[in-house]
Assembly symmetry: C2
Homo-oligomer: 545 residues x 2
């Protein structure tokens, strides 16, 4: 028996587009001689469909796609994920299901059992868990069909669920485990994924075919990295990251094993490629082509400009250099040098006259009060407004250039430098932004060296440095990581050796700035805990605040 896996880039709610993508994949698998082709979880609707699932009409459209795929299942069987209705009144109205289609019709449906409801996942919001598990026989092979999380409860010290669905199938003596997934990217996720697949293969002594989404849906990135594992625990194949691909395997060869092929994994390569994919997908899926951003001469906007130019092409990226009276000469020079290196359009627009016009307008009210944060914010907001004016006039999407450290501690101006449709490096700590800059420069100096080496500054008042307001980033970032990614307490973090006052101040800044994060752009998620849909905090919360 030959089994194909189709690692596809789908688009939430784009039924027509998704059906076309899936039908092409089926054709390709047929051409490769596959008996079965496995498409990803909820492939008909894209992942995550979120509250669209509450619309009955949306489910009808998904059912229509399943029907069309069934018609195409002639001479080849198709395994595909799609929502299905729960026929009994008790429980949630839907299941997250895997349809097995052959000979022009639905042959079998297995529902998902383990419904991830943590971090970015909300599946129990919509779906009833399966309570029946059937091994389905096709062409003499007994298939244990599972959906994503169904295999993730194996091999954990602190399992999230009480049962493992494949356990429930083992007395039906399956020959192979198929798993259709929608498992988002994080820079440390691929290793974890392979460990989980191996834990299943070892527990059940069966080969496992795992197929994942690739591409991105707003903030959520999918790397693919689909895996075929032999019963010997070796990776028979791992598909390349961020690439659509259909590949067919002979089950006999997979059973024999003895082959090991993994993708190379380097943190900065992964983050770099993931962000390019995120930018490209955001623009393509929303129907936009061109991006704009402000280039300050600092490292954050420099890195974002490079990533945007690589993702969209330099001809589709435009930057504004918007010096104020507090900008240093080198900022403009460095920014211009970078724009020239990248071959992107740049314009110099000094903001001083607009700033003066605001000052004049506000003078009758502000005259008794000295220059302070208000005027710093004003500069940031003038820049945001100019960028949005270009965005409105010429149809560019504004890219946000804030990094994760700044977003964490609220070092940014709401409606100013926090503007933008998409936060490109909002899940990359400042120290990692430097790593990314060096990665970008590994073969040639794309980002002028001076941008990388000068001390970080917002340049909103004379001689300002980030370190006037914040701890040094190499002290701050590890504290933020322990709190955000690892959910450690202040006491735990202090016991790791960090300065107590710094820890308490950093955590307080994180917690009192929830209101800013509530209003910022979606952040391309590259870590296991990004700001946005995967981290849900009360705004009026008083904890550590």
């Amino acid at each position: 028996m030959k089994i194909a896996i189709a690692q596809l880039n789908l688009h939430i709610g784009n039924f027509e587009g998704n059906l076309a993508v899936m039908l092409r994949a089926v054709e390709e698998a047929r051409r490769q001689g596959a008996d079965i082709v496995c498409l990803p979880e909820l492939a008909t609707v894209g992942y995550p469909p979120r509250d669209f699932l509450e619309f009955d009409d949306f489910i009808q459209l998904a059912n229509h796609s399943v029907g069309e795929l069934a018609k195409a299942a002639q001479g080849i069987a198709i395994l595909v994920g799609s929502p299905s209705r729960n026929p009994v009144p008790e429980g949630k109205d839907l299941y997250n299901s895997a349809y097995f289609l052959a000979e022009g019709r639905i042959q079998f449906v297995q529902h998902k059992t383990l419904l991830p409801t943590y971090d970015v996942f909300d599946e129990y919001r919509y779906f009833e868990p399966a309570h029946e598990w059937t091994v389905f026989e096709y062409k003499g092979r007994r298939l244990a069909i599972s959906i994503c999380e169904d295999i993730w409860n194996v091999g954990n010290e602190n399992p999230l669920y009480k049962i493992c669905p494949i356990d429930e199938m083992m007395d039906q003596k399956p020959d192979v485990i198929l798993n259709i997934s929608a498992s988002p990217f994080a820079y440390d996720h691929a290793a974890e994924r392979i460990a989980v697949i191996r834990a299943n293969v070892e527990r059940y002594n069966l080969p496992l075919f795992y197929v994942n989404h690739t591409g991105a849906q707003t903030e959520l990135l999918f790397d693919g990295g689909s895996v075929v594992m032999s019963p010997d625990g070796q990776v028979f194949d791992e598909l390349p990251y961020f690439t659509e691909m259909v590949r067919t395997y002979d089950l006999g060869e997979v059973m024999r094993g003895g082959v090991h092929r993994e993708q190379t994994r380097d943190k900065m390569t992964l983050i770099h490629d993931a962000i390019l994919e995120g930018i490209r997908n955001y623009f393509r899926k929303l129907g936009f082509k061109r991006a704009i951003l402000g280039l300050s001469g600092g490292i954050d906007s420099a890195v974002v400009a490079v990533l945007a130019a690589r993702a969209l092409g330099p001809e589709n990226v435009r930057v504004l250099l918007m010096p104020s009276q507090f900008s240093s000469d080198h900022s403009v020079l460095d920014a211009r040098k970078l724009a020239e290196n990248l071959g992107i359009q740049y314009d110099l627009i000094p903001i001083q006259s607009v700033f003066e016009s605001y000052s004049e307008t506000l003078k009758p009210h502000f005259w008794a009060h000295p220059f302070n944060l208000t005027e710093e914010n004003l500069q940031a907001r003038i820049r945001g407004m100019l960028l949005m004016a270009f965005s409105n006039k010429f149809g560019h999407i504004l890219l946000n250039t804030s990094n994760k450290s700044e977003i964490a501690v609220g070092y940014g101006t709401l409606y100013g430098d926090l503007c933008g449709g998409l936060s490109v490096i909002g899940d990359v700590y400042k120290t990692e932004v430097y790593d990314l800059a060096r990665f970008i420069n590994k073969d040639a100096e794309v980002i002028p060296e001076n941008i990388i080496t000068k001390p970080p500054s917002a340049e909103l008042r004379p001689n300002q440095k980030d370190s006037d307001s914040l701890p040094e980033y190499d002290e701050l970032d590890p504290i933020l990581f322990q709190y955000i990614e690892r959910r450690q307490s202040p006491q735990d973090i202090i016991e790791m050796g960090f300065d107590e006052a710094t820890v308490r101040r950093a955590l307080r800044l994180v917690n009192i700035n929830e209101f800013k994060r509530h209003q910022t752009a979606p952040v391309l998620r590259v870590s296991s805990k990004a700001f946005g849909m995967g981290r849900r905090m009360p705004i009026v919360g008083k904890y550590l605040a």
Copy 2:
């Protein structure tokens, strides 16, 4: 036996403050002669604690509060909600629990079974459901202890869950049902709540004591409306809305029944009072006193100004009148009249000179392009920036004045009139804003009549009217209601008699403007489906877009 219910306003993560509030309630119940006092669900931590629950340190602090309450449980028993740790590795790490405290220690713990995970609720994100149900005997009475949703699966045609936890307790012959809740307000919620309580009383033939939170946590409002129901299905008592209160009942009298006391319920009274509570709580819980907003002369900002002045006191509200060259004379006159009626500080700040300064700065780039949406947005953004400058300089919180109809169809400028820390009427459709204005004016003309009667206009270009860009609101709002609150399909809505082109255009506008809603302020939730945490949509989604 005497049972007290304590309807309290708690604050997420404010352990010290919450403990003080609860201890005062216990003292009051003791003074009233109660044997048991029932405090709300998750009262130690406030509701909803959201991802704070993932911090082990946060759970330790909650446990500490339970310990302190146990010490106070001398001569009186306390039933209180708090998270508790799941002692086994399998399943989620926490339970949502009701602690029964007496004689200085924890006597009994019942966990919550039904974990709402829909709309604004995420409980399965954190909690394992109960799988044991024990009736607890205290002073000769057998108590069936339940938590909020545990009683909500009774009496539904399409129940969300497979079991009803009180069913599981009935063979232990309870005498009374206690329910501690955190059930958010919606203008139609109180009637539904009483129907659910009645369905339980009738099914089990037992009296029921239901205690709810009051107050607000950012967008979520809690009206209290705690209920004691006799076995005859009559409302023995319903506590007033949006008021903290401790009240004690003799169980024998409740058993006898024959008393019926409900609060009066009028939609506009409820929405009005709910919004005042929402504003007050947002400011108090974040430690702010004063609000600012832009007064355009239109109805939305007029209503928000009245609500803010009533919630915070006129001395704490400041407004800016910011006419542009397109503002009509009556706008400024009407706005000034309103400010004078309210006795709030107002300043007139024309925006034309700042607008000209932007135009001048942008001329080298925009000269070939005519005045369009860019320049309209520019005016809205200048106003947003001026308001934020006052906010920064003087410590006012900016109130957003967009209504639900505008937010739905994206009729507003990001970083312009969509600025603000809190959206006051973002869950009130435009037609309801008129109702609210008339409600406000019922005894005297607070809002100048001309503000209510003139046609809605953004006044961003000559002679502009909302109806140039949008359907009339009395046609638009019912379509939006059917789509947003009722999740009807375009076909369903058209079949109700609405114009097909209008329906398709309205729904498309809703869906393509998700990116704007992603970046707007939290919206005080007064309906059963508000924008914000209870409505989660993909930004790149293609459905109906």
